[in-house]
Amino acid sequence: MRAVRAIATNTFREAVRDRILYLFIGFAVVMVVSSKLFGMLTVGDETKIIKDIGLAAMQFFSMLIAVMMSMILISREVDSRTVFNILAKPVRRWQFILGKYLGLVSIVAANLVLITVVLMLTVLVVAGELDLMLLFAGTMTMLEMMVLAAFATLFAVLTRPILGSLMTLAVFVVGHMSADLWLLTRQLPGAVTKAVISVVYYLLPNLERFNFRTEVVHDLSIPGAAVGWAVLYAAAFVVVVLFLANLRFRGKDLK
């Protein structure tokens, strides 16, 4: 596991020394802090609006970081051929994939911790309330990003960076429309269309499983089973998608 850790650490280090990461993080922090303005301009509970917008910003920017950084960090390693020196050493290809993935997940995690802390501080300053449920929401967003990062890793070894980014973005969008897709299959008349949509529904993750924003914002109770299932669901998707990424990368000639 030392090689995996070394690759993950190098990936993390590369990201934190890249200006583009700070651009995303900067935007995210500005968005969270400026949610106070939205709260002032909107009718309703200001704190709830801050939390809602803050959590939405947390999810959106984490997604952007996961998509962009995975493409930059994995594709760049292959395109710039630095991967040659890694694979010529006693390192298996699955260790490379896992190391890159863990590095990527660490970057997203660091970003999420930062945004969560900023959001909690904003809520504390505005409402005088230390809402620990925001930590829970951040953790669930992290689970979602772990699934998304696994897909980004798969697409990074499967195709070119821009196409890979678009495909990961598509997984994010479709993943949040999964329930709607399922309802759509009931409305559509054609059996073939139904079958195609069903395949998409089962192949792609239902990312709404990780969305507890409403519960956190409105202080609703959260069923433990839903959380447990979300954890298992994320783990299963991460394992399967990384396995597929490894399968593709294992036999790949690097030029």
């Binding site: 090689a3 690759i7 280090r13 040659f84 050493k89 006693p90 000639d253």
Partner: protein, 307 residues
Amino acid sequence: MADIQLSVNDLQKTFHPGLFEASIEVLKGLSFEVARGEIFGFLGPNGAGKTTTIKAITEIIYPDAGEITVCGLPHTSLEAKKRIGFMSESPYIYRHLTGREYLWFGGELLGLDRAGLADRISRVLDQVGMSGRANRTMGTYSKGMLQRVALGQALLGEPELLILDEPMSGLDPVGRRDVRDIILNQAAAGVTVFFSTHIIPDVEMICDRVAIIVDGRVRAIGTVSELISDETTGYEATFVGALPADLRTPLEAYHVASGASWVRVTTENRDNLIHEFGDRGIQVVSLDPVRTTLEDLLMRHYEESGS
């Protein structure tokens, strides 16, 4: 040959670039062996298959057929890979890392003992002449510095087999001499060195044995002296004055300059040329035999292959 460190047997590789593009057969049954402690040059023109062979040995690509062993072990085994030090053609580096961090990363991948790693890195940096610049990020390095650090990471694991892909390409004369010295020192310490190049003087200067690869096949293999015959293929005469336009002796080549000019003739025409120059009162400054060089040999194989 005793104690083979690297054995490549009937290696074949065809690339399939795309659906509507023709396949490219790069390696066509390549075979050779490298013995322990020798400096083995892998000489060939661009596109001959040198880098593809090295990529196959280091498992960066997968051959279609053939067998590769490193120190008697299958080249894909981690045990074999631990014994290899590899430097790729035009070093691919991380611009965000310092030279020292890059070597540390390499040490971690090699699984080297952390306790002694810092000392080992300092030693290697000394060896490649980068101690003073090791704490700068590699994005600020010149090509020569990158080459040195890349060579450093190849030496870090104290490999038994050093594989260098075009190690001197793009270096200035000082850099080339330094890399040559490092290779010679490694060989003196018992390390087997396998390096690819298209720079013939490098091969002539340091290689114990050479394989000439053209069009995916080994065309000739042996020591430099074995490959280059002592046979004289012609003569070059340097003379003073103009070259007569009506010279009867057939010339292979000539060069006319304001001072001394030269002509090249076949061995059979040497005496005719001397007599004719004598008859015309042309003063011959020197007459030197022309022998087959490694370059001639490479060109001959290249032309024969029809590449």
